[in-house]
Amino acid sequence: MNSDELRFDSENQAVEAFIERGWTDGLPIIPPSLERVNSFLEYSGRDSEEPLGREPVKGRTVTVGKVAINSVMAGCLPQYFPVVLSAIEAALEPEFNLHGITASTMGAGILAVVNGPIAESVGINGSTSVFGPGHRANATIGRAIRLCIINATGSKSGEIDKATLGHAGKYTWCITENIEASPWSTLGEDRGFNKKSNVVTVFSGLSPTQVSNHSTQEPESILRSFKDALFAAGPSQGEIVITLCPEHTKHLSQAGWGKMQIRDYMYQMAVRTDDEWGSGSIPPGGTLKGLKLTHSAEAPDSYTIIVAGGFAGAFSSVIPLWGGGSNSQSVTKPILETTA
């Protein structure tokens, strides 16, 4: 294991030292003893020195072993570790632009969406309180990703990480879809994988805007509720995530609507003149003026639809992505089988 061993008089002292040195998210961690870290490595069957990728701006090559250390610290169980590994591998792909999203004032978090049987087998929640607390797999996988960003790629708050606001998803943000509630293809299938494939997709998510509509079952009326939230994200988004709750999903699917029809309608509906964009938001790169119509997204396919959340309540959400959804592209990676 190519990591320095640090000696402390007690576990409490180790925890306090890690917090003081800025090696945590501000919360206490599980001390990463060699024994604990080795149990993760043994579970994955992977070599600790195997590189997962390199963050070129800060010049850091992230290895399986370093991700194991940070996963232990986050409170993961060994069976979560393959998910964290693939999420980090995905985040290190050049098109994700990890340095940009972790340094920028825009304050993106990393939303990890897990699809495939592993989501259920390790207990990742996609239902009630999907973005909230109470589920160890969600809480610690997302936290492990954040601790890797802090320690393995060097993005500490106030140093490299210059987020103006940030948001709570920067502590932890890992979910699965509510496949029981969804009549449609999963995100993993939309990305070309088999429904039984274990995959994780990472998004550079800004804070979600909740969209409420309990007063209609009509598809067009439901989708028009998203308009202001889409406008708040800015014009011509390259990619933007729509979290549809089960109740909205049920109304849409019972009316015969699929993801393609929803995306097409959303694209046609969320449009306004450049004068309206210019007076209602600050578009990147300058001020829009005139009567030309500009859509909220570049194309219907720019809307990535996932189904998640509890069965009760008509609350969906819009999650804009960093840099207009084009400067950081979401990345999907398979989660490797373990030899354990």
Binding site: L6, F18, N151
Partner: protein, 98 residues
């Protein structure tokens, strides 16, 4: 594990394989220099660089400016643009305007 005795834990950090920051070597004088002005696509970045060039012109006999714009502040500068600038410029100044 008990909170007594010695506890060994592993360092979670990955250390950089490049220096944290690299400043280009500073020339003793800019007299006779071709100065690249590389804007990053943010609003006002070109204007800021033009003014920097004007200020430098008051102190040095600059040969000429080579303005360019990498077009996207969120992405690294395209390697071919860097290569072109390093071919014709003695120094390059870049800026982040907003």
């Amino acid at each position: 594990m008990a909170n007594s005795g010695q506890v060994y834990v592993l360092d979670p950090r990955v250390l950089p394989d490049i220096p944290d920051s690299m400043l280009a070597e500073r020339p003793e004088s800019l007299d006779g220099s071709t100065v690249g002005l590389l804007a990053n696509g943010k609003r006002n970045s070109e204007e800021l660089l033009e003014q920097v060039y004007e200020v430098l012109s008051e102190s040095f006999k600059l040969k000429r400016a080579v303005p360019d714009n990498k077009g996207n502040a969120s992405r690294p500068c395209p390697p071919n643009l860097l290569a072109e600038l390093s071919e014709v410029c003695d120094v390059v100044i870049t800026a982040s305007g907003d």
